[in-house]
Amino acid sequence: MTGTKGLRQRRTGRAISTLLLVIICGLTLLPIVLTFLYSFFPMSEMKAFLDTRNSYDQGRFMNILLAPATVSLRQYYDLLIDKPIYLQLFMNSVKYTLAILAGQVLFIPTLAYALSRFRFRGRETIFFLVLMLMLLPFQVTMAPSVLTMRTLGLMNTAWAVILPMMFAPFYIFLMRQFMVGIPPEMIEAGLMDGADTVRSFFHVVLPLSKPILGAAVALSFADAWNMVEQPLIYLASTQNRMPLSVMFNTLSSSEQGVIFASAALYIMPALLIYSYFQEDILLGIQLSDMK
């Protein structure tokens, strides 16, 4: 009796969940899908469409555009061939993001290893500071950071944006929480075979940390690719060194014809990274100590 009732309950539960999830996922995807769709409209059609914005005529709505008169790659062509500034800003984003990721790969797993597998005085203090710094917004250390950068002669150079992000506390936290959870037997087994701390790092801890490494790379990519606060301050007087993420709200008013293609192009690398690392993100977070 209870068995069949429970089964039926579960089945209706599953049906309702599926229905709601399909709707919510559809809404989640909508802005991305529309951005890509609109990027294939002819420039003139898009411009005309965007010009119908900001009309306060009660009787009129903007059209709902779902299919272009002709599918056109003109926006992309115009953007990539005729507007060198776009490519330059895009490449700035690429440069900053790659440099930040390279630095993080070098510094963060090693630091997390030290904080999770070594016992030494001050370890808890360092971890406490990491946690605290991770929660603070960028603006808290903004003014003194600028002084630091000035002292080091890095203001208005790419390094001012790159260097602090290389040591981003959140990723130290993320890696450390994962490494803490690696069963000690695995490391001890390595030690029996005569491995030292360095060997155990490269041959035991790093391979086991693969999911969280993937997760950290993907999440950090997203951070760096979308950064706004740091370049606004550190690169204030050098507009052409800005990453594209900062410039979208200027572009959206001046480059109406190609704005959707520029947005779509900027989303694309993020989607590629995501599809490559999505399992790592799920697994990495699942295996980390997140409570």
Partner: protein
């Protein structure tokens, strides 16, 4: 756990140096900043700066707005992500594609979404079509205090997936046997949720809530994209106040505001840290 190994320095030092120079030293330097007068003499004025900044109307407005935006978006993220995680759990292994879609916005740069957001929330846009279809008056989403709505939705849209994943991970780690046993004993879904799911999920829920709150309190990007550097009063955040003071070279004001801000964040932090879970993992 390694003890007394000299190789510790090899692993610890490079990262720690960077953390010190680019994060810790500025943090400590800022405290000094907020207590001095900013002239060439750098006289210690103790809490004079704090008195001035807290008396400033723009500061109070920014603080109020930041609090308000975070108080509106945090419960949204928290409740939605919990419910979504529960729904995902009922689907078991078939939930994967949904989870992947829900997390996707977290990776997508919100800067690039700005334009489509402006189109959707235009006075003649799709959102207002829905509003009219529901028999209500059109809303000026972008030109009035209602600007909060598109900003919060952009923020929630982007950040909810991460909470869903954390919740899902926690829900998945609950042993199935508990539920099977409860079912045998005749406990319905509500009873199961109250007696099994909620108590076991509480530590994770707490983490999600605090992280979501602290992060929402830092909301700036989304406001900057939609409202610019000098947005309407209703969405002028604390970060705007700091950025704008910064461009006027009033460093004392910036850091003082920042530390007032930090103090509030650190109260959340104390809440988080006071619990055992995050602290010393001496289990190994």
């Amino acid at each position: 756990m390694f003890a007394k190994k000299r190789s510790l320095w090899l692993f610890l030092l490079p990262g720690l140096m960077g953390l010190m120079v680019f994060h810790l030293v500025p943090f400590i330097g800022g405290i000094y900043f907020s207590l001095t007068d900013g002239t060439v003499h750098n006289r210690l004025v103790w809490f004079e700066n704090y008195r001035r900044v807290w008396g400033n109307a723009a500061f109070r407005q920014g603080l109020g707005n930041s609090l308000e935006l975070s108080l509106l978006s945090t419960p949204l993220i928290f409740l939605f992500s919990f419910v979504l995680a529960l729904m995902l759990k009922t689907l078991r292994e078939r939930s994967l594609p949904y989870r992947n879609i829900l997390l996707m916005p977290y990776l997508v740069p919100s800067s690039a979404l700005l334009i489509i957001w402006m189109v959707l929330f235009d006075y003649g846009g799709i959102v207002n079509r829905l509003v009219v279809a529901l028999g209500l008056e059109r809303v000026m989403w972008l030109e009035s205090g209602a600007l909060r709505v598109p900003i919060i939705l952009l923020y929630v849209w982007k950040n909810m997936g991460f909470s869903v994943v954390i919740f899902s991970a926690a829900l998945q780690s609950l042993p199935d046997e508990y539920y099977e046993f409860a079912m045998l004993e005749g406990a319905g879904p509500v009873r199961q949720a109250r007696s099994i799911t909620l108590p076991l999920i509480l530590p994770t829920a707490f983490l999600v809530f605090v992280l979501a709150w602290v992060n929402a309190f830092k909301i700036f990007k989304e406001v900057y994209f939609i409202g610019g550097a000098y947005p309407r009063d209703e969405v002028y955040t604390l970060q705007h106040f700091m950025n704008n003071r910064f461009t006027k070279l009033e460093y004392q004001d910036v850091t003082t505001a920042a530390y007032s801000f930090a103090l509030i964040v650190l109260v959340f932090f104390a809440l988080l840290y006071a619990r055992k879970g995050v602290r010393g993992h001496d289990r190994y």
